[in-house]
Symmetry: C2
Subunit: 453 residues, 2 copies
């Protein structure tokens, strides 16, 4: 058994205990009621980083939730790795579908269950433990900085400005990020690109109060019916988004690049079964992995209006609302897309209703450089731990801030994620396999070694 | 001043006090938590009816909420009027829009504010007071029965069976109902027909759990997007409902009948202003009053799915639901329409989603006989009180049970309603004008006199 494996084996109860302390803090960044929890969680990260061997670790206020920054500088002449992660988590609704309470982590069938178990407390904590190992053995081969933010799930509204102000402190050669998935335990993969995001909220208002549907039904535009019709018209029968100009900046991949991506193993039957659907859908002319990896899409993330309680209420409601987001591909600008969407959506409204569009957040997609020494070091590390070479893959999700940080720090991000689809992040019963947690720590240690060789 | 006006003037503080006692009871029939309140409210009606002079008044259990029945038989050989009303009310959501708590009635600007102020505690209570007046003066000219039910707002699921069992007890010559509106205080009207109702709830399910919209977005059918598309296809660009066979039983009115209805005064600008909309909408080729009176319509009464809380959540939800109701015209059978809807709606689903349709409740529309002595008596009474002849009108709402009771009891209903659009029944800040409350009592007293002359 290797020394690192042995270290993990001996210390795993303590690692889990420390991680569970983080998981118990309900650091939901989108909800005001958790404002204090954000500080509590940030403080706990500072404690963990100091205990792991950082020279300094502290909380920095921002215009939003605070940022945790830590560093260990062994030699200013050596390369510097900046570990990026986030301590904030998604809301827990629908709470009733959780088998165990989201903020009372527990282990079942070899996996940690709890909000943040994977995204991103579990994954970011692997870096803390890999760092601890290297420091404890005096084997840290380069400078390491940690940037753990508290607003990733709400689009990192404050981090860009803060990073610009603290550009020198954050200076690095590569940003190392574990906040994505790999294809499977048998088919490890390393993410080479992420989609961007434009997230908006829309409101359609008809009458200025709720009305009796018997007295008014048939005579005025019902805002729910109208909203449904407007949403229905956002995607055409070929699965393409109808927003004018939406595809203008989308780069079509070459046949060669598509063939390369097509090498990633994908079993549609298994995929369908894993999420309980009988059929797949999406943009005509693209495979499922292309649809989630290299093509943009539009989803309604939430909708509400009128009476939603028990039984029946014959109301013609005053308004209806929806949260609508678009995943973007590299080269699409989320601000431009948000503008195009707002203008197109408003143009779909019939007379007699008022439409409001509010921008929630957004971020650019990006492509990571596959041929770089950083990627090669990661591939070697992961390949050694998993016993098989990782395949390059494109992630459908978004880490909106990464493209911005890349611009500020002039350092490429490397997305070495250990999550699996089965972790159901953002959903009830989020989990993280213990085996992935341990192999992640091991892979990160090896990455440092190969990166600095 | 007439004797009845004098009586109302002297007793109005007591009348309001008694009515407020009823309004304070939160008898929301659709919500289980109010089950006990239904009994409390029924008991209070029994008290009011006994105090007003009924020979007997009692609560009858049904398979649902109880029925209140009371009677005063002065001479079996004389005609019998059955007063129909209901003591149940609509839910109060959205509660935050109420200016005063819904179950703490108060008077502002000459109107009673509270849930049920008009629909139907306020209106049904006018009958109790008119009855009290006639009994107190020994002037009751005919037999009077009261049937006050507790399930009108949920489609009267139990009353039909109960009425069939108690057919003899309920025997009458006319059903007198105040549960509708008149055009305005200046243009009194009497309802000559009501629309029927078919109310359903639909659910579209995609994946078996909520998913991360980044990882899955673009690759599977999103149940909210799908539900919106299905709803959008229920009404065509001419405002006609696309459910196959929907219009088969709709009777087109003759040009003459349409012209008669067209005589009702209607100011579109005032109508739009009163509900805060900039434009009207509806089925092509029909006027607004026709759209709400003689034409069927389809409205989404509620919709929900995905994340509806504060901020943004990038979820691709497992399911989306909607409450959808159709107002029907006389001769359309609500059971047939519900079947046609379920079958049509299901046929609109793309592969990859599961559709469930659940029937909530329904009721037939009906037409009241305009030329009958009952209508003529009501017209004379209302005309005398308001100083202008009432116009016949068609109500857009539904009292689903009336058509059924008419069949069971073989007695026509007479809809003498004193509500106004401004009362915003079913909405926040339901109200009832004191002047309408008083003029209603007076009109009812006169109706008895003219009806038995």
């Amino acid at each position: 058994m290797s020394e690192i494996k042995d270290f993990i084996d001996k210390n795993s109860p303590r690692f889990l205990d420390e991680l569970f302390t983080l998981l118990r803090i309900p650091s939901v960044s989108s909800q005001q009621e958790h404002r204090e929890d954000m500080y509590t969680c940030a403080r706990q990260y500072v404690v963990s980083l100091m205990e792991a061997g950082a020279d300094k670790a502290q909380i920095y206020p921002t215009t939003g939730h605070p940022v945790v920054y830590a560093e260990k500088i062994i030699d200013p002449g050596k390369p510097t790795v900046l570990v990026y992660g986030h301590y904030d988590v998604q809301p827990v609704d629908p709470i009733e579908l959780w088998k165990s309470p989201p903020f009372e982590p527990e282990i079942r069938d070899g996996a940690i269950y709890g909000r943040g178990a994977d995204d991103d407390k579990g994954q970011s904590f692997m870096h803390v433990k890999a760092f601890e190992y290297l420091v404890s053995r005096n084997e840290l081969p380069c400078n390491v900085k940690f940037l753990i933010e508290g607003e990733e799930e709400i689009g990192s509204p404050s981090l860009g400005a803060w990073a610009r102000e603290n550009k020198d402190m954050l200076a690095c050669d590569v940003m190392l990020v574990s906040d994505t998935t790999m294809i499977s335990e048998d088919v490890p993969s390393i993410n080479t690109g992420m989609r961007g995001l434009a997230y908006l909220e829309v409101k359609v208002t008809g009458p200025d109060k709720d009305l009796h549907s018997g007295h008014y039904g048939g005579a005025i535009a019902n805002p729910i019916n109208v909203l449904c019709s407007m949403i229905a018209r956002l995607i055409d029968e070929k699965g393409r988004i109808t927003v004018k100009g939406f595809y203008d900046d989308v780069v079509e991949l070459s046949a060669e690049d598509r063939a390369l991506l097509g090498r990633a193993p994908f079993d549609p039957e298994h995929f369908k079964k894993s999420i309980g659907v009988s059929d797949l859908a999406g943009e005509e002319g693209y495979s499922t992995l292309e649809r989630t990896g290299i093509r943009p899409c539009l989803d309604v993330n939430g909708i509400w209006g009128g009476y939603t309680g028990e039984g029946a209420k014959t109301v013609l409601p005053s308004y209806a609302k929806a949260k609508i987001s678009m995943r973007l591909v590299p080269n699409q600008d989320h601000k431009k897309i948000s503008r195009l969407f707002a203008s197109h959506f408003t143009s779909l409204a019939p007379s007699g209703v008022k439409v409001e569009v509010q921008e929630h957040h957004g971020g650019q997609g990006f492509l990571a450089p596959i041929s770089s020494p950083v990627y090669q070091a990661a591939a070697k590390a992961v390949g050694q731990v998993y016993g098989v070479d990782p395949v390059p893959s494109r992630g459908g999700g978004s880490i909106p801030i990464l493209a911005e940080l890349e611009g500020i720090l002039n350092a490429p991000p490397l997305l070495m994620g250990f999550g699996l689809e089965r972790d159901t992040i953002h959903s009830p019963n989020e989990s993280y396999l213990l085996s992935q947690f341990y192999r992640g720590i091991e892979s990160i240690v090896l990455f440092y070694k190969y990166y600095t060789k």
